[in-house]
């Protein structure tokens, strides 16, 4: 049986270990900022050059679905923050329930996203040989818009899948913890990742759903 209060080598105490894990996760998230940042730069650059085409193409995404999905993701961040709170207090049952709720909301987000993808592909908005767009004069830059849309929301969805797998592992650990294992630090690190994915989406939402012509 592991001693819940002992630190793992090379750390001398739990708090030191927790702080190191936190900092390590933030360093990783900083590299993620640069990873998504490069794509954001491409978007802003193209949005400036092809302003009218992006406004036109932005009108083709489903604002209702996008806003609903944003609300779902924001709520999943709330349940995640509550899960971390429970983990720090050693309340394993509450942690398990809140993780489950977070995973349900995350899965709902991905399901709605999948529905959107299917619709767009059906409408011929998947960039490539089958891409069709009216007015035809805006087709090339509109294709660029949807290329960025699929790449950026797709990478975001991949991050969501990783996050869901991470939370599932954590939930299994919480289930068998019985108060013997301190899950405060693992939950907090997973929470940082989950909230980061939320932050990325917070910016993707105006870029792909609120950019529209009047």
């Amino acid at each position: 049986m592991t001693d819940a209060s002992a630190a793992s080598p090379p750390f001398t105490d739990r708090e030191q270990q927790r702080e190191a894990a936190r900092i390590g996760m933030w360093v990783f998230l900083t590299t993620e900022v640069m990873f998504f940042g490069a794509l954001f730069l491409v978007y802003f650059y193209d949005q400036h050059i092809f302003h009218d085409a992006f406004a036109s193409a932005g009108g083709r995404t489903d604002l209702g679905l996008g806003a609903g999905n944003t609300a779902v993701l924001l709520l999943s961040s709330l349940t995640m923050a509550l899960a971390v709170r429970a983990a720090k207090q050693g309340r394993d049952r509450a942690l398990f329930g809140r993780l489950l709720l977070t995973m349900i909301l995350g899965s709902a987000f991905l399901a709605l996203k999948g529905l959107e993808y299917a619709r767009h592909i059906h409408e011929g908005l998947l960039p490539g040989a089958s891409f069709v767009y009216e007015p035809a004069a805006l087709a090339r830059p509109a294709e660029l818009f949807f290329y960025l849309y699929f790449v950026m929301t797709g990478l975001h969805a991949v991050h969501m899948l990783v996050g869901l797998a991470w939370l599932a592992v954590l939930a299994v650990r919480a289930r068998g913890a019985d108060g013997r294992v301190d899950l405060g630090t693992p939950a907090e690190v997973a929470g940082l990742y989950w909230h980061f994915i939320d932050v990325v989406w917070i910016f993707l939402f105006p870029m792909f759903y609120l950019v529209r012509g009047h």
Binding site: I23, M34, Q89, F196, I202, R212
Partner: protein
């Protein structure tokens, strides 16, 4: 075990986030001309700050953590500012 600083604040932050979402969707129907995208991004930045500060617990993090978070923001700012300044000042 940590001192519970209250889950109420987390619910309040979530409420504020949803209110900001409603605001930005509402504003997208108003014709703000060329400022509409900038306004939408400003609301997004406010939401991101709320998530980072309260949900990601920057409010109670040590300086090293805050420094890393700020570093990411500054590097990204340099990347965007440098390139976009070049773009918008070309003739």
């Amino acid at each position: 075990m940590e001192e519970d600083r209250g889950e109420v604040i987390l619910f309040r932050v979530a409420g504020a986030l949803l209110a900001l979402l409603a605001l930005t969707v509402g504003l997208s129907f108003a014709d703000l001309g060329r400022f509409s995208f900038a306004v939408a991004l400003t609301v997004a930045a406010a939401k991101a700050l709320l998530v980072a500060y309260y949900f990601m617990e920057l409010d109670e993090s040590v300086d090293a953590v805050r420094f890393m978070a700020a570093a990411g923001l500054v590097w990204l700012g340099l990347l965007l500012a440098g390139t976009l300044t070049d773009l918008i000042t070309r003739r």
